[in-house]
């Protein structure tokens, strides 16, 4: 079972790798829309990648209004 910190780390790793942002520039409290420079369509793509990586389903309504990595990881953690 992953800890929340581990899940957050994996979310940051995945986001950095896919959106080609240096990993060291990302922190758990960052607004991912701003930091990754993504729009809502790309956020949906991030959702698909997270679902695939963690092997879970993450309904859109559970991440509505979420914009920071830590809260996103928390929503994922609840489904692991």
């Amino acid at each position: 079972m992953r800890t929340l910190d581990q899940t957050t780390g994996e979310v940051l790793d995945l986001a950095a790798a896919h959106f080609k942002v240096p990993r060291e520039q990302l922190s758990p409290g960052d607004d991912f829309y701003r930091k990754l420079k993504i729009d809502s369509l790309q956020a949906l793509e991030l959702l698909s990648r997270l679902e695939s990586h963690f092997g879970i389903e993450l309904p859109d309504y559970e991440v509505q209004g979420v914009s920071d990595f830590r809260t996103l990881a928390d929503r994922i953690q609840a489904r692991l």
Binding site: D39, L44, R49, E51, E57, P59, D60, Y61
Partner: protein, 267 residues
């Protein structure tokens, strides 16, 4: 007409396969322009069906297969009319869409939707007219209509019910959430999941397999295996038109059109 290039879509017949490319910016919204071209396609089908065994429907827009109905156009046209005239206009549009969808659904060709990116609302309904859906692993499917105070109106509910169980039908409709391609395959909506960017290639490979079989037998098999839920489709038109007349719908459309979000149709 074996080849066609329109404002919203193009098609070409090659080696027994009709490939229909949706290319209407930003993401193949289905409004009057798309409907005109889809009507041209179904008018051409009888001739194409004498020379082909399979049809592939795909999008060349990077955003996805289709974002659904053209809500901006719908709002603009609805604002220009009111009362019974508005209701009649909406009904006429929906009736036209259903005629096209039913003809695609009933075509003796084996039809394959190659889906990537977003496949929402009316776009999802268009994909559901096809016999098979091959989806890019990053594709997402959703019916977000309830947030506008309407139900899917292009035949989505009866066709969804034809293909999958109630748990999925109600989850998609009542929550408006999107599901990914792997989930869509697990519940029976998608027949094959492709690697990123490979959905069209897999659809072509599937179509090539279809070509090996006798066309007449395939058509008989399709007619038996995939009956068209005509009674429910009629009922859906009535319900959709009834809901569309409520003032809450125009208000929801107004908010949608006024949104500054680049992709306001997203959940």
């Amino acid at each position: 007409m074996n080849d066609f290039k329109g404002q919203t879509l193009s098609w070409k017949l090659d080696g027994g396969i009709v490939e229909v490319e949706l290319h209407y910016a930003p993401c193949n919204e289905i409004g009057l322009a798309m409907l005109d071209d889809l009507e041209r396609l179904v008018q051409a089908l009888p001739e194409l069906e004498t020379q082909a065994s399979a049809l592939i429907l795909y999008s060349s827009r990077k955003e996805g297969f289709s974002a659904g109905g053209d809500l901006r156009e719908l709002y603009r046209l609805s604002l220009a009319t009111e009362g019974q005239t508005r209701a009649d206009g909406m009904r006429a549009f929906v009736e036209r869409v259903h005629r096209v969808a039913n003809m695609l659904d009933a075509s003796p060709l084996t039809t394959i939707a190659a889906v990537h990116g977003i496949c929402f609302g009316g776009g999802f309904e268009l994909a559901l007219t096809c016999d098979l859906i091959v989806a890019d692993k990053m594709a997402r499917f959703a019916f977000p209509e309830l947030r506008l105070g309407i139900i899917p109106g292009f035949g989505g509910i009866p066709r969804l019910r034809r293909d999958v169980g109630n748990a999925v039908v109600r989850d998609l409709l009542f929550t408006g959430r999107s599901i990914n391609a792997v989930k869509a395959q697990a519940v029976g909506l998608v027949s094959q999941v492709a690697a990123e960017g490979e959905a069209l290639r897999l659809a072509r490979s599937t179509a090539a397999q279809v070509l090996k079989y006798d066309r007449y037998t395939s058509a008989v098999c399709k007619k038996f295996a995939k009956p068209i839920p005509l009674e429910d489709l009629r009922r859906e038109i009535e319900l959709f038109c009834e809901l569309f007349e409520r003032p809450a719908v125009m208000e929801a459309l107004r908010k949608f059109v006024g949104s500054t979000d680049a992709y306001p149709y997203l959940p």
